[in-house]
Amino acid sequence: MSQVLTINPITRIEGHARISIHLDEAGRVSDARVEIATLRGFEQFVLGRPAEEIPRIVTRICGICPWMHHLAAIKAIDGCFGISPPPTGNLLRELCQVLAHIHDKILHFFFLAAPDFMLGPESDYSVRNIMGLVRSEPELAVQVVRMRQLAVAMLERFAGKAIHPVAGVVGGFARPMDAEIRRDLLVDGQVLLDFACQSLAFAKERVFSRFIEEMLSLGTVTTGFLGTVDAQGSLRLYDGLLRLMRPEGNFDEFPAGDYHRFLAEHVEPWSYAKMVYAKSWGEGFSLDPDQPRGVYRANTLARINVCDRIATPRAQEELAVFRELFGRPARGTLLYHWARLIELVYACERALELLADERIVEPLVYRAAEPGAGRGIGHVEAPRGTLIHDYTTDENGCITRANLIVGTTHNVAPMQLSVRQAADSLIRNGACDEHILNRIEMAVRAYDP
């Protein structure tokens, strides 16, 4: 008899989703799906709103990465109103973005993912979590909580509200940073960089080395990759060119404003989340596990794969080690975690670079914007992947059309493939238990959806 196994909800991820795995009469996996079961409809209810208000509305798309939506929207509305911020405005915006990446990565790695590795994928569900980690590794847990808190506090000190921010404004940034705050942030930034380097050393020694086989095999699939680089091909999070890499490693580069020429969104009846795919490859879209078409991945591993280098020294050292071990492009799905910690190091180094720039305390932080008709496309690399906001305004500067491509959606299709691959390799003759199901979830968790 055929059978359906469900994992409902997928836990230790930052959203609502479930997995269903279909088994045929022989107990073989015939289908596996990650179903994203929620839709709020931002593209509808931003219509008619004054465009300058949008950056304060779309933050609520995600309470974990509200800064990403805030900034992508601000850049897009800058475009609608035809304004560009002064240098200090851009520096302050980017500083907020990298600080937000820092606490996000600490959250994902230590609070959500690490329990699988440190307590073991087979440990009981009641202890396989951050509360269990606090009991088994209290010193580490206290440090992690403090460091995450520090990154949040740094943001709050000059940007006020850390969750659902308001400090970015169309035309620039709301308020200059004062010199005293900058001095404090430089000290704290160094503490975070030290912690980031320690975390990566710790993870390589205590976590990744014990699971090296899983790192290479669990949920591993062959796909393309999407990320952002500067003109030298260096990793960028705040701005730059999109680089869309084919599975073989060759790539196209384009400005975010051209996204519609390269990307399209596929709709399945069982998922509210659309599946973004590479239209420009001209092969259409397919989730056939043996021969997927148009599927690429975004988020940390993708960014680490598409960049030629990282422009900060510590992160570049780590990138070189990573490439030495896993090649380019690296395909192992659990390598997302490793790539995430390399990006954590980069984000800390970049925060210090921005703070070291003398212009960051200059008083001119915005230029006055005039509402009007136009179209603007803004993009940033969110923790979960390339984030694109596209708005059109009428002559009153109110929204008439919106298109949002949210980081996670790039990975909806590859997550299907990874779950299918994990289920195929772990479920034998229809035999499945809680531990196998958790391992399948680990393939999803790596994507940090």
């Binding site: 208000e53 995600c62 959250l107 396989r128 206290v142 996204y259 969104e265 509210y272 499945c432």
Partner: protein
């Protein structure tokens, strides 16, 4: 035995959960005081045992339940009812749970219209809208429209310390102390009683001297900027100044009305009128209900002008 804590999220963004995690070392002390029995963001307790396509939601019993997000999908009913059934004290955490929040902005359109718009964007393939998913409800509801709520703790998100102190007080069966002032009552800006007669666009910036504290800045509403401070529940800044004001930007009302049952739109119209400000100079008046569109406050308009609905 430690009190048991159960957490669920519905039609929200997980910002309330992150606010709880942002409480830092208070979070560690909370972990020592309660046993968390269900919390999808942090632990692997499932609705079912995984065998079969069972839609029944099974949740553990708990002394305290936290629910974030409003009710926006068919599937939320079962989860919310199970939480109510299993939790002795149920807390509506965050503005979405208490007043609908930002997701209730879609109450100005039907669910069908929203689906149509979302699945017909420029880059979306032509395809029927998904139908094998939990259906969107026609309106986003606050949770008290569906079940009895014992404690309402609004905020978008609520202040981290406040979340922990409320859970701790309930766990220790102590009396709760909740904020009751408006944002204005917690804001130190200078009010002279004589302001602009109009509201300017959101692109306008306030005047202030960057080095000076907020207590030397003129009230934003008096400077002609739309600030929802008079009609919005305070508490976002704790004993310090309100959060948005710290960045010198006006309040948008994210804690919902000052008193439960208040209407931020009507209350604000009154506040503007009593300050001699012409409400017609506000370009988007419905946005005054940006955070409190549940309880039937926002509804689809019967007739719309041609280009306004969607293009």
């Amino acid at each position: 035995m430690k009190p048991k804590l159960s957490c669920e999220w519905l039609h929200g963004c997980s910002g309330c959960e992150i606010a709880l995690l942002n409480s830092g070392e208070l979070l560690l002390s909370l972990f020592q005081q309660v046993d968390i029995v269900h919390f999808p963001l942090l632990m692997d307790h499932k609705y079912t045992d995984g065998a079969g396509d069972d839609e029944e939601v099974s949740l553990p019993e708990a002394d305290i339940g936290l629910v974030t997000g409003g009710v926006g999908l068919e599937s939320h009913h079962g989860v919310l009812k199970a939480m109510r059934r299993q939790c002795r004290i149920l807390i509506a955490l965050g503005t979405c749970a208490v007043h609908g929040g930002i997701p209730a902005m879609r109450n100005q359109w039907t669910a069908g219209c929203t689906m149509e718009t979302v699945f017909s964007t420029a880059t979306t393939e032509a395809a029927p809208v998904p139908d094998a998913v939990p259906a969107l409800l026609d309106r986003v509801l606050s949770i008290d429209e569906q079940v009895r709520v014992d404690v309402s703790l609004p905020g978008c998100p609520p202040r981290p310390k406040m979340i922990v102190s409320v859970v701790e007080a309930l766990a220790q069966q102590k009396k709760l102390r909740l904020p009751y002032k408006s944002v204005c009552e917690t804001c130190p800006t200078v009010r002279t009683g004589k302001g602009q007669a109009v509201i300017r666009r959101g692109t306008a910036k306030p005047e202030y001297t960057p080095d000076e504290p907020l207590s030397r800045m003129r009230c934003l509403l008096e400077q002609g900027l739309l600030c929802m401070g008079p009609v919005t529940a305070g508490g976002c800044g704790g004993r310090e100044v309100p959060l948005c004001l710290r960045s010198r930007v006006p309040c948008r009302g994210c804690y919902g009305p000052v008193h439960e049952g208040g209407n931020q739109l009507l209350d604000m119209m009154n506040a503007l009128a009593s300050n001699g400000i012409d409400y017609r100079t506000i370009i988007d008046r419905k946005s005054l209900l940006r955070f409190s569109g549940a309880h039937g406050r926002l509804r689809p308009e019967k007739k719309r002008r041609g280009g306004q609905q969607l293009s």
